[in-house]
């Protein structure tokens, strides 16, 4: 059968379209990227070879480091705040009656279904200084001195963006974790509960260790997702005030498309691809690799 099926012709016909698409639009752009980062380029013309000058300029630019600080702040928020919260939601989701669970599952998923533009704009209204939700709540409980212009205050702008991001994806991550919990045989924690362990103990000692495979997946998804944090910034603050809420991707867009320094923009992109590779390698390295058997 294999002789009949695997002719050169059929392999070519089946493999070529996808490989062509993938190579041209996903892998190939990395090459001109590398080439362009060594040149002075304004988006239309190549203005000559400059060696590593673009990299030197990028690394000396304080905006680049602000952008890094902001990006890793978002990564930190989504891993160290978002993941535990999603985990708690998932664990409690598991202990609900089916009807209640169905309702909460849908509620938790809603934010992830709305488009980023809509979500970001809704939160712009919540952070609005004069009639926005947060200042309204603070005023009504008498904490007038805490009110502020959330998105233009340099101390609150990144945490505010982070909160919006968390709100949009916490429910989706909880769903992913919950799906993992469902695959764990019930006897495992029923036995522990019979022995007198509390819900918190069972969760920490039994459920979470058995879930590390799914947790690994969710961590990779949320780290890579928050590394590329861009759309919310675009809609909510346009990187402002000044450059204080720019992320790495925003800084890259800004440098290339708003200041027409394509060489410098691609230098940022090349550095960023390397970062993504290193980080996913580290996560793979430290996360559990062996398959769990029930």
């Amino acid at each position: 059968m294999n002789k009949y099926f695997s002719t050169r012709m059929s392999i070519f016909v089946f493999a070529a379209p996808a490989l062509l698409l993938f190579s041209v639009f996903c892998v190939y752009p990395l090459l001109p990227q590398l080439w362009m980062s060594l040149h002075d380029h304004d988006g239309f013309r190549n203005l000559g070879f400059v060696g590593l000058d673009n990299y030197r300029e990028v690394l000396a630019d304080s905006s680049f480091w602000t952008a890094h600080k902001n990006t890793y702040l978002i990564v930190g928020i989504s891993v160290f705040l978002g993941l535990p919260l999603s985990m708690i939601l998932a664990l409690i989701m598991d202990s609900q009656t089916p009807n209640l669970r169905r309702f909460f599952k849908s509620a938790a998923m809603f934010p992830a279904i709305l488009s980023v533009t809509v979500v970001a704009q809704i939160w712009v209204a919540f952070y609005e200084p004069n009639w926005g939700l947060f200042n309204g709540i603070l005023r009504s409980i008498g904490l007038d001195s805490w009110t502020r212009s959330w998105l233009t205050d340099h101390r609150t702008v990144m945490p505010s963006l982070g909160l919006t991001f968390l709100w949009q994806y916490i429910g989706l991550n909880a769903m992913l974790l919950y799906t993992g919990i469902k695959t764990i045989p019930k006897q495992y924690y029923e036995a522990a509960l019979l022995d007198g362990a509390s819900f918190a103990q069972v969760s920490l000692r039994v459920t979470i260790p058995l879930l590390r495979y799914v947790i690994n997946y969710v961590v990779i998804l949320s780290v890579l997702g928050s590394m590329a944090f861009y759309s919310h910034v675009r809609v909510m603050t346009s990187g402002g005030p000044g450059d204080l809420s720019r992320t790495v991707v925003y800084q890259m867009y800004y440098t290339a498309f708003e200041t027409s320094q394509f060489g410098k923009g691609t230098a940022i992109a090349v550095l960023f691809v390397l970062e993504c590779l290193v980080i996913s390698f580290i996560i793979q390295r430290f996360a559990a690799r062996e398959k769990l058997e029930f």
């Binding site: 712009v124 769903m175 675009r234 590779l277």
Partner: protein, 270 residues
Amino acid sequence: MKLITRAFWLVVACTFLFPLYWMCSMSFKTKSEAYDNPFGFPRTWDWHNFSEALSKYHFFVYFKNSLIYASGTIIVTLVTGAMLAYCLSRMQWKLNAAVLLYVSLGLIVPIEVVVIPLFQLIKELHLKESYFGLILPYAGFSLSSCVLMLYAFLRTLPKELEEAACIDGTNVYQTFFRIILPIVVPALVTQGVLVFMRIWNEFPLAFIIASKDDFRPLTVGLLGFFVNVGVSDWGIIGASMLLSSLPTLIIYLIGNEKIENALTAGAILK
């Protein structure tokens, strides 16, 4: 204990649903009511925000564009992805393992980082004023997860299926399209949902490549509309947001079980 978790859940659910309620209520408020009653229930139900939003905001153009991008990407990704996955799982090719590794590269590189060279490439291929300018890159970036998932799925199918077809004298193309594809429909639906969700909400690439208004999808068109309206008339902004969200909300309400299963399938497969 039960009461506490119930109460906790109620608070959580409200947190998730409140912005949705706010968007709906805002779209029925007049310009002045939006300011003195921003978070309460609308005092009078005012429909004119919708008619005004529809006349100023090119909702149907953007909606059509989003639909074309999403469905075009789904078709291209699923057809080419299923073919490659079939080739990798069934045909004897010494490069199988290498190709699989090569394709999984796409999972690590985020689409945002190649935007600059992609922008140049699309310009040189003269695809900038065409739907393919976004569909082809989207498909390229959706292929990795599609191929890997379908590959895992196809490997579980028994070989006898094709052996029977082979004895009947059908060729490999007929076998693939008539026998294999109908069997993998559930996996294709899952991938279709995932691609749809990703492309329907894609923003960074569309923002750069679809710079002409006629080709903008909803996400980018909506932002352009916000910039035009300014932040003075929240009623219209609310109405335009609600209009833009309705299609996905309706699809989600109809097929939420299926969509949830599709979205979470990846977590278990891994």
